[in-house]
Symmetry: D2
Subunit: 332 residues, 4 copies
């Protein structure tokens, strides 16, 4: 085993214990993962000690990264950003109505899907490119920043040209071909955690983007797949403080997709702020029962209006401020 | 199929659709689960619509249950209760020191294990019965209420006689023989969710206790087992609002056992309060590096002291109050 | 850190690498788990290298353990044992009918629950002690060995006195109070893996029994809880070869409880034999649609009769033999 | 609620029960998922009864689909196909050596990655297009069919032009943009189950390909992500009989990626055949300790040679035949 380690230009450290002998190996991970120690006679197990991500690691880059969308909208600074809007953009009327509502209530970024990744090919797939014309008008009128999802080369080019931040969805978190292209973009990127990704895997996915030269990455916890059946996914809020400890990148939370149930969204949004999230992304729809996707989890306008001041109060309780375009009508 | 349904004294409702025929059956669940419809020729699947728990359901009992320990310590009312103390009681000195610390900081209930369920038979198993003498002295001096775990008949009898609330641990959530005995106890019970239990299973376990006549049950979310590796378990905070919707029983959260890491405990305690928990249970140890169990997750006294006022602020931000024996030294 | 390690009587091994310093510590695990290294300033993570179980480990005891029930029924030898019978014993007629059927088809051990752990307190709980009288008659007539579940002190005493092998169910795998009592029994024990237990935890649970002096432990894989919804649990067949590598104890498989669906039981029984299981435990019911528990997964007599010769053929294909009381009517 | 149902052109079926009222709705799923019933006052839950996939369903297409690669290599017929080869193609020497070995032992399809999806951007990414020249030579010499992974548009075009079957990896199972492009290909497709995908999701992903006109889809179970830590993923073998019941598409198993450990691959390959798989895909490497990816799980040539006749024996035991280019040197 020691000779094999040396063959990789690394130094083995042998420790004899009662019953077992342990060989410590230090060096660059890339080489070690390829060495296949488990198959030596007498090797019982191989245990990895090092973190497998590099560029997104706080060890490499100790200071917090702040990702700015312009006009004072910043992720990773002391203020908590509120992103809100419909799951899918369905029409100009719908988009304008929601945008006005969420802006009045305090949001500064509008979410809205134009290209939708749907589990079934027979579900509504989004307005596509035509939707950008609608969104241009919505942004002109409201001044909100706009985040939308890129699924492939074409939708990424459009998002890069016409949105303020490109979103990579949970299902594409390990679409490495897409991540490489995103790394060559200039716009900030919202990278959602895959619903069965470990934090190491999320940070290695971020490494793909950072390695391309795009350092403006915001991570997003959106629920993981577990055995539970009371919520669509299990919102893993402990990922927020853990990611902020492991990485310098900002972290936001999407309680709408995580829970899939309107009644759970509000308490989880408050909990996300309490756990230290740099932002919260919420689905709001003026008429959820008629939404073409995910209506069950969308907040009604009045729910959202009552939620924002409570998020602001929780932010203050944990020493932060909620970022809003204008002073909130205090609901407290 | 219809004849079979009728054979159980139930009424089938037949609905013909395009391609399939659906038979709805309404009645008491106990009978239906035993009918084995899946094995009829032509039956594609059986879907359960009803909730399988009864006594703990809010449908059965719409008003909130409030569980009182006396001296104003109540779970399920507007105040949020803080339970704190060491994982295991190790000595009188340790117990007194922690108890004074957590009381001064604002806790009103002391936790402390006397009989410990340990994964390995070779780990420290707790002081056992002798520990109760220590705890009597601690309670005399501090006035704190005391919660400790019951593992079997003997430890349950002791907890019933000498503690203020009996705790049933996650590993015993489906120890039905023990649950039946707990149902015959008079003391309030803290029932921890098993780390792979659904909410239905937790509420059916509560039904075992309620069915015995003991209605003073407090539920506790303490993390579920998932694929993640950054925390010991995944704290499933959405269980808090969901349980409060499904059931009338109070719900508290144990972020210490859920996360297993001290640095994650504080943000998760704040998030639990924001999510609507009726109480938070925290491990505090004056010298965690020397703790005989679970030292990695125990808060230091100074951590706990700085956490309590922040929990109080979050409680206020969501319209509740933190219950404390005396006014907090405001840390805000 | 090094001083702290020395304080436990252990020897630290320091390895300096590029960017990190690793301290290896060798010694008895019991002490180390209590040391709480994670909380030292500058400690990034603590990685365990050693196996946490001792008595059930193949490192401690390299030779295979063979557990004998008498009359040539042995787990862990070259023959594969077939255990079959109903989930619950419901009546003498039912029990005799099933017992005759499974014996004729080739089983040598009868399973049948007398004390049933049921998720809801309102479900059928088993015949209890009265069932033993029925089973005495069944065994007298058929000569089959009998395995049944012990849930608590009373049912364990009965199983110890009147069954051939005591079964500890998945929900009690970490009921340490019960495991300690089982360790003082003389009868062989069938220990089912908890549905969210790792193999380390299963082997530590076995350690509880072995530590009490009872070395006749048979492990049983019965499915784990995952996100999947097409089977009740996910049968983790890779646990079979892994357990046989890690431990000297025999390993059997219960495909009936794992899958919960009759149509999946047969292929999984064959797969279990192919994977190297020392036995297969199957539910068989002469009238599953009327079973008082778990009818959906019980094989019909004719299913079982056609399955046994195929299991025998698979056993032969992987170099083993199916143990049967009498020569099979070859179905090949 | 009934009016809302009618608004979608569907017919509500009202059933009054003790305590609840159930409304059954029958019709096309696409419409229903968008209706958002959960948010009506008084609606407790919405339960889906229908299967959400269509084209891949056995209800739509009862007869087994047989996918042929030519030269008698067919998935879904009575013969079980063996696919073997290295994780990554590294050089002509390596590829030729492995190809000769696996062909001699009985494989008829060669696997080998040219474009590798790697979790870290700093790991070996495959030979890319240049590798096809090597593989042309390997195929010329051995006559083996060749399967390789497509990650994006370019690698898909290459696979379509120069491989015999295009593989869509687990991480791309819900890369819907890619699936749509695959639907327009003519070559057979091997679609791997995502490691946290339900069977419904896998079949909806298959629907994307079938909807494009490509009906030659082979499904592949390759392990799911669970809490277990003894194998890289948990091989969910019950998916094999379940998929064959739900769908008309062939199903194969990849025990190498599922377990990640060489010692578990052989028993799981045998178990896969016993469970009814239409093929088994295995990693074989002549020098695994030097493999540039996944060496820990690759079988040695001699392991593979001894495994094939045992797979053939198991296939025979369950009424099937192992497909081989030439008669096996009987190892039985």
């Amino acid at each position: 085993v020691c000779d094999h380690v040396k063959g990789y230009g690394l130094t083995p450290h042998v420790m004899h214990g009662p019953g077992r002998c342990v060989v410590g190996v230090l060096g660059h991970e890339g080489r070690l993962s390829e060495a296949g120690f488990t198959n030596f006679e007498g090797v019982i197990e191989v245990v990895r000690v090092y973190s497998p991500y590099v560029l997104s690691s706080r060890e490499t880059h100790p200071a917090d990264t702040v990702v700015s969308l312009g006009d004072g909208v910043k992720f990773g600074a002391s203020e908590v950003v509120v992103i809100a809007g419909p799951c899918s953009v369905e029409s100009l009327e719908q988009a304008i109505a929601v945008a006005r509502t969420v802006k009045a209530a305090g949001a500064t970024v509008l979410r809205g899907g134009l290209f939708k990744p749907r589990t079934s090919p027979f579900s509504f797939q989004g307005l596509g490119e035509a939707g950008y014309d609608l969104m241009d008008e919505v942004r002109r009128e409201t001044g909100l920043k706009f985040v939308t999802e890129a699924l492939d080369e074409r939708s990424l080019e459009l998002a890069e040209a016409r949105a303020d931040i490109d979103r990579i969805g949970a299902r594409n978190m390990q679409n490495f071909a897409l991540l490489k292209k995103v790394g060559r973009c200039k716009k900030p990127v919202l990278l959602k955690r895959g619903f069965s990704a470990t934090l190491d895997e999320l940070l290695m996915a971020a490494d793909y983007i950072l390695a391309g030269g795009n350092y403006n990455v915001v991570l997003c916890e959106r629920g993981i797949r577990t055995f539970t059946d009371h919520s669509r996914n299990t919102l893993d809020l402990s990922a927020v403080p853990m990611l902020k400890q492991l990485s310098h990148l900002p972290v936001i939370v999407d309680p709408s997709h995580a829970t899939g149930k309107r009644k759970l969204v509000q308490p989880m949004a408050l909990a996300a702020v309490a756990a230290g999230a740099d932002g919260v992304m919420l689905e709001v729809h003026c008429s959820p029962a008629e939404a073409l996707s995910d209506g069950e989890q969308a907040l009604l306008p009045q729910d959202f209006e009552s939620l924002v001041p409570r998020m602001a109060a929780v932010a203050q309780a944990v020493g932060r401020t909620l970022h809003t375009a204008s002073p909130l009508n205090s609901g407290l």
